[in-house]
Symmetry: C2
DNA sequence: GGCTCTTATATGATATAAGCATATATATAA
DNA sequence: TTATATATATGCTTATATCATATAAGAGCC
């Protein structure tokens, strides 16, 4: 059993997809930039330790029509594939927020119960 | 891409392990009972839709020494494999709480940023 | 020019986990 | 005797995560 919050298995794939959708909705970005913006959230996310996974997740988002892409060659250096949110992506995110709120409640319940357990000892 | 909070991919495996450790720490239980106690948390958890996955996760917890088991044949009906937390399990849970608190902060940040995005539109 | 570093995207191979079906078995209720 | 609830467990297939590697542009250095 591996640890938590140390880059392996901290979240599930679905959550990473939501994080990416939010980041892209805030501002269109390319994959490499998204990896650094993800780190700013402060909790390690699975499949992101290695860039390969991130690109694969972005591909699935693109294939399912939640994001669209443009190649940006204006900056010099290697070409950048810039992801932007679609209407479908925004409404998917909106629908998914229900689960995010539920998760928050859930985590709070978890903490509450853990602390009750601690007191009991 | 499948949905969230509908039994598929809502959490990661590592979180399920934590939930199970907390439940078992609160009260020793057998697998079948744990599946119903998990549902009481209100958010669907991956690998738990089907009982098979739950038993496999419990096996890994047992193999790694975080829980110990006893067979209970006192109640009638099929024998029950009762899981109880070990010292190692408790200290693992304690260490992991750091990640749980971080997740809470993280989710709050997510919600905050989503709501800021909504206002901007 | 050749060397290394950072930025940037992507795929191959393998290990782990999730999801679905199924097997086994005891007791109770209809 | 048939069905239902309880109870544990494994086989198989697909999906995901992890690790390694390939490709390539530009920048800085010597």
């Amino acid at each position: 059993m591996r640890g938590f919050g140390r880059g392996t298995g901290a979240f599930g794939r679905r959550w990473v997809e939501l994080y990416l959708l939010l980041l892209i909705a805030e501002k269109p970005s390319h994959g490499y930039e998204l990896s650094t913006r993800l780190k700013d959230f402060g909790v390690m996310i699975p499949g992101i330790g290695q860039m390969g996974s991130l690109y694969r997740i972005l591909s699935t988002l693109e294939m399912s029509g939640l994001v669209a892409t443009d190649w940006d060659i204006s900056e010099g250096g290697p070409a950048r594939k810039v992801y932007k949110i679609t209407k479908e992506g925004l409404s998917f995110l909106e629908d998914a927020m229900e689960s995010v709120y539920a998760l928050k409640t859930n985590i709070e319940k978890f903490i509450e119960r853990y602390e009750a357990l601690k007191k009991r000892e």
